[in-house]
Amino acid sequence: MLRGLSMFILLLWALAALFGGGFAAGANTIDLQRILAPPSELGLLGFDDLGRPLLERLIVGAQTSFLVAFGVVAVTSVIGSLLGLIAGYRGGWIDLLIVRLIEVFLAFPGILLAIALAGIMGPGLDNLIIALSVVGWVGYARLARAQTLALKQRDHVSAAIALGSGHWRILLRHLLPLIAAPLIVEATFGVAGAVIAEAGLSFLGLGIQPPAASWGSMIRDGASYMLMAPHMVLAPGCTILLVVFSLNLLGDRLRDRLDIRLTARKRS
C-alpha cells in the first residue's frame, strides 16, 4: 500500500514537473480580492499573501525542484563516479590527489558550503545547480572508488587487460556495470537530498527568485502569515515531505533489492 502510494506521488511529481505547465498558467496572477483566502472551490489549496493560487504555484515549484534535483544528480553522479573509478583503477598519485580532494570536501559540514557558494555567486537556477553540484559529487566518488578497489583484482578485469582492452573500455564496460547498483541507490537518496537542499536554499532566499515559485520560498513567504493562513506553510511543506519520503522509501527498497549478492556473501 505504502509502496504504491509512494510511487504514485513520485509519478505525480514528475507529471506536474514535465507536463504541468498548462495547469499553472495563473501561478503568478496577483488577485487582491483573494489575499490569504483559505482553500475553497475557487482554489483547492487556497491563496497566498498576493492572492496567487497555491496549487498552481506548487506545480511551478515541482518544475523547479525536479529540474534542480535531476540536474544536480546527473552532474554529480557522472563526475563523482568517474573520479572514483579513475582513482580506484589507476591508483598512485592520481588516487592520492582525488582522495585528498574527497577528504577536503567531506570536511565541509552538510549544506554549509552550498549556502556560502550560492550566497556568493548570487541567486538563480544555474548558480543553485552549480552550488549543489560542487558539494554533491563526493559521495559517488568515495563509493565508486571503494567498489573499484575491491573489484579491479577480479579475473575478468585481468582477462580484459590481457586481451589488450583500453583503460576506458575496462572502466566503462567491465567495472562500471558491477558498481552501478550501489551508485543507483546513492543517486536515489541524492535526488531526495537535492529536493530538500533546493527548498532549503530557496527558503534562505538564495535559490529561485520571485516571482518564480519554489516550495522552499513558498514556506518562507508563508511563515509570516502562519496564524492567519496556515495553508501557505502547510501546502508546500506537506508536498516536500511526501516527495522526499517517497524517494527515501524508494531508495531503501532499491538498496534491499540490489544488495542481494552482498547479503548472500555475508551469510555464507
Binding site: L2, E103, F108, I115, I196, F203, L204, G237, L241
Partner: protein, 308 residues
C-alpha cells in the same frame, strides 16, 4: 602508537589546509569584481580603492594567498566590511548560541533515537518495528525549515507554551532543539536498531540468555554496550549535517548563532565574514572527527593496526 597519532594528525592538517584554500577561493567566485558587488556601482572611486586595498584584492593572487595563510596562523580572519570589527570577535560572540543549540539538539536526538531503535530491534518484524522505522523515515524526510514553523504554529501560537523566537525567554531552546534534532534522531534510531540487531545475533548474547538472564538485562547490559561504538561513530560523522542544519534552524527561530551570522553576512555581501563562518564551522567539524578517530585508535588497537 606515536606513528598512528602522527599520521592521523598530519592528514588532518592537510585537510585543514585544503579547507582553508577552498574558503580562500570563495571570494574569487564572485561574479565580476567583488568590490563592485559589495559597494554597488555608485560608490566613489576612493572608497572602492580603499576596500580593494583593505581586502588585499589589489595584490597578486600568490601574495593574497600568502597573506591569508599567515593571517590564519595568527588566528586573524580579517574584519567585517561593515562594522570593521575583527571576524574572530564577531564569531566569538555567536559561538555559544550555536554550541548550545547543537548540544541541545544532540541530547534531544539521543532521547528519541535510543528508545526508538531499541524498541524496533527488540520487537523486530513486529508492528513496533514497522512503526518506529516509519517514524524514522518521516523524520529523515521532514525539512527542518518546515518543521520549525509548524512547531511554532502549534506550540507557540496555538498552545502558547513556548516562545516564538529568540534566545532570551526561558524555554526558547526547546523548539529549535527539536527542529534540529529530529532528522538526527531519525538517522540515529536506524543505526541503534541495526547495530543492536547485529550484536543480538552474537554467541555471547545467546550465552547470557541461556544463563537465564531476563531479557531487559541481556539487551541493556550485554548487547547495548557493544552496540554503542557504531552509534558514537555516527554521532561524530553526523555532526557535520547537524552544523549545516543549524544554519537553517537559526534563521527559522532568530537564534543568534554562527548560522544567522553567516546568512546576515551573505545578505550584506560581507564576504570576509562569510569566509570566516564557513572556515570556523568546518574546522570544528574536522577537529571533532579527528579527535574521535584518535580516541578510537587509543581505545581499540585493531583500528590502530588497520592503518598499515
Amino acid at each position: 602508537m606515536i606513528d598512528y597519532l602522527l599520521t592521523r594528525l598530519f592528514s588532518a592538517l592537510l585537510v585543514v589546509v585544503g579547507v582553508a584554500l577552498v574558503v580562500f577561493l570563495l571570494i574569487h567566485l564572485v561574479p565580476g569584481d567583488p568590490v563592485d558587488v559589495m559597494l554597488g556601482e555608485s560608490a566613489r572611486p576612493a572608497d572602492r580603492e580603499a576596500l580593494r586595498t583593505a581586502l588585499g584584492l589589489d595584490q597578486a593572487l600568490g601574495r593574497q594567498l600568502l597573506d591569508y595563510f599567515s593571517g590564519l596562523a595568527r588566528l586573524d580572519l580579517g574584519s567585517s566590511i561593515y562594522s570593521r570589527q575583527p571576524v574572530s570577535e564577531l564569531l566569538a560572540a555567536r559561538i555559544p548560541a550555536t554550541l548550545q543549540l547543537a548540544l541541545a539538539a544532540t541530547v534531544c536526538a539521543l532521547l528519541i533515537a535510543i528508545p526508538l531503535g531499541l524498541l524496533a530491534a527488540v520487537r523486530r518484524g513486529e508492528a513496533w518495528d514497522w512503526g518506529a522505522m516509519s517514524f524514522s523515515l518521516v523524520g529523515l524526510s521532514i525539512p527542518n525549515f518546515w518543521l520549525g514553523p509548524v512547531l511554532v504554529l502549534v506550540f507557540s501560537l496555538w498552545l502558547g507554551w513556548t516562545p516564538v523566537s529568540g534566545r532570551e525567554a526561558s524555554g526558547s531552546i526547546i523548539l529549535p532543539a527539536i527542529t534540529l534534532g529530529t532528522g538526527f534522531a531519525a538517522i540515529l534510531a536506524r543505526m541503534v536498531r541495526s547495530s543492536l540487531l547485529e550484536v543480538l545475533g552474537e554467541d555471547y548474547v545467546r550465552t547470557a540468555r541461556a544463563k537465564g538472564l531476563d531479557e531487559p538485562r541481556v539487551v541493556w547490559r550485554h548487547a547495548m554496550r557493544n552496540a554503542w561504538l557504531p552509534v558514537v561513530t555516527l554521532l561524530g560523522l553526523q555532526l557535520g549535517a547537524l552544523l549545516g542544519g543549524a544554519v537553517v534552524t537559526e534563521i527559522v527561530f532568530d537564534w543568534p548563532g554562527v548560522g544567522s551570522l553567516l546568512i546576515e553576512a551573505i545578505q550584506k555581501r560581507d564576504y570576509p565574514v562569510v569566509q570566516g563562518c564557513v572556515l570556523f564551522v568546518s574546522l570544528v567539524y574536522v577537529l571533532v572527527n579527528t579527535l574521535t578517530d584518535l580516541a578510537y585508535g587509543v581505545l581499540d588497537p585493531r583500528i590502530r593496526q588497520g592503518l598499515d
